[in-house]
């Protein structure tokens, strides 16, 4: 139980994939102009990361060392295909909005990185929890960025109008530069806070 808590803290804060390891930012930037898209993307990633780590960990004793990368990619692709088909069947409009970025979960370095670094060396149930924790950390960052971008860019949250009609939308926030600035600022804040933490700890 204690281990579960440590893993979650690592995924959400101490070792957050986007903020700390700068992994998987391609999709982090691309889908964050709307809260809804970010949430779906995040849930998809949690699913794929958790189950890929589980599978990689389950078969880790039987995987030959030199082809393990290929095996991992194939496992990840299989789960991504599941997510893609599910979205197409039940949420066709979101599937169109996300476009190729669902498929790009395959090349999202977070999953490969965790499979390689964590699932290869740990038993299945811990690897599964680690996948959920890392995915959740990723989703939280996604939602934070999307919150600011959608609020300032459209004046809405999850499509519901929050700011009054007099609000003039900052269209720059919806465009690519807004995403770069937001992520840059977010990393800035997190680094500074972490620095303070370490100084307090000393």
């Amino acid at each position: 139980m204690k281990q579960t808590k440590t893993i979650f803290l690592e995924g959400l804060w101490g070792n957050n994939p986007i903020a700390r390891q700068i992994l998987g930012i391609c999709s982090a930037l691309a889908v964050t102009n709307l809260m809804k898209n970010s949430l779906v993307m995040g849930l998809g990633l949690i699913f794929v990361t958790a189950f890929s780590e589980l599978t990689v960990s389950l078969i880790r004793q039987w995987t030959p060392k030199h082809i393990r990368m290929m095996v991992q990619v194939l496992i990840i692709s299989a789960y991504v295909i599941l997510v893609d088909i599910f979205l197409k069947a039940y949420f066709p409009d979101i599937s169109t909005a996300l476009g190729p970025y669902v498929g790009l979960i395959i090349t999202n370095c977070i999953i490969m990185g965790r499979c390689e670094a964590f699932a290869q060396a740990n038993p299945p149930h811990i690897a599964f929890i680690d996948g959920i924790a890392m995915g959740t950390g990723y989703t939280l960052v996604l939602l934070t960025i999307a919150f600011v971008r959608e609020l300032l860019g459209f004046g809405t949250l999850f499509g519901i109008r929050i700011l009054g009609d007099s609000w003039v939308s900052w269209s720059i926030m919806i465009m690519p530069p807004g995403a770069f600035f937001m992520l840059g600022i977010l990393i800035w804040i997190l680094h500074t806070v972490k620095k303070k933490d370490q100084e307090v700890a000393k």
């Binding site: 930012i25 790009l104 530069p177 995403a179 500074t192």
Partner: protein, 195 residues
């Protein structure tokens, strides 16, 4: 809907730049872009692989997957064909062009997991490009990516001496610079349009 291949080519470099408008290939973009020479090497490798894998994946998709109704397998097929091609290139280059291998070699394995490569293949199937357009789209995307990473490396070199706030150093400031560069690239929009 048909696209003029040349329009797609220039659009892929300027208005629909892989990095500034599609955010693809960011991981290596942030990590590698500290030295101009290395950036050029990586850029060349990406351009080369893109220009070849785009038509290969086009042929695989339209002549193998579609006739058998296996479109949903495209992710696996694309990623395997990219990985296999990168491996093949690495072996050929190592045997026949040792000098090229020395300058390019370390980048090749990195490319398999570069999202720009898979992204191009996925975009071209979603947008229904034909063979020539796909090839030029791959080539243009690669050149656009190289332009972006070399430009960023140049800017970072100039910024070595500047006093960047402590928390912003490293990836933070890189993202802010990229944002400003993306702003500049918005200036190109409207010249050529795709999608």
């Amino acid at each position: 809907m048909t696209f003029n291949p040349l329009v797609v080519f220039f659009a892929a470099i300027f208005t629909n730049n892989m990095i500034f408008s599609n955010f693809l290939g960011m991981c290596s973009f942030i990590a590698v872009s500290s030295d101009i020479k290395t950036s050029i090497g990586l850029g060349q490798a990406v351009t080369f692989v893109l220009a070849i894998t785009a038509p290969i994946n086009y042929l695989l998709y339209h002549y193998v997957l579609v006739p058998f109704g296996l479109e949903y397998l495209r992710y696996i097929v694309f990623i395997v064909s990219i990985a296999a091609f990168v491996q093949l290139v690495e072996m050929i280059v190592e045997r026949s062009f040792p000098s090229l291998h020395q300058s390019l070699g370390i980048f090749l394995p990195l490319i398999t997991v570069n999202c720009a490569i898979l992204g191009v293949s996925l975009f071209m199937t979603i947008r229904n490009y034909n063979l020539i357009t796909s090839t030029l789209y791959g080539l243009g995307s690669g050149l656009g990516w190289m332009l972006a990473i070399v430009a960023l490396a140049g800017i970072k070199k100039r910024m070595k001496m500047s006093a960047v706030p402590e928390g912003l150093q490293g990836s933070g400031i890189t993202l802010i610079i990229t944002g400003i560069m993306a702003l500049a690239f918005i200036g190109f929009s409207g010249i050529v349009q795709i999608s």
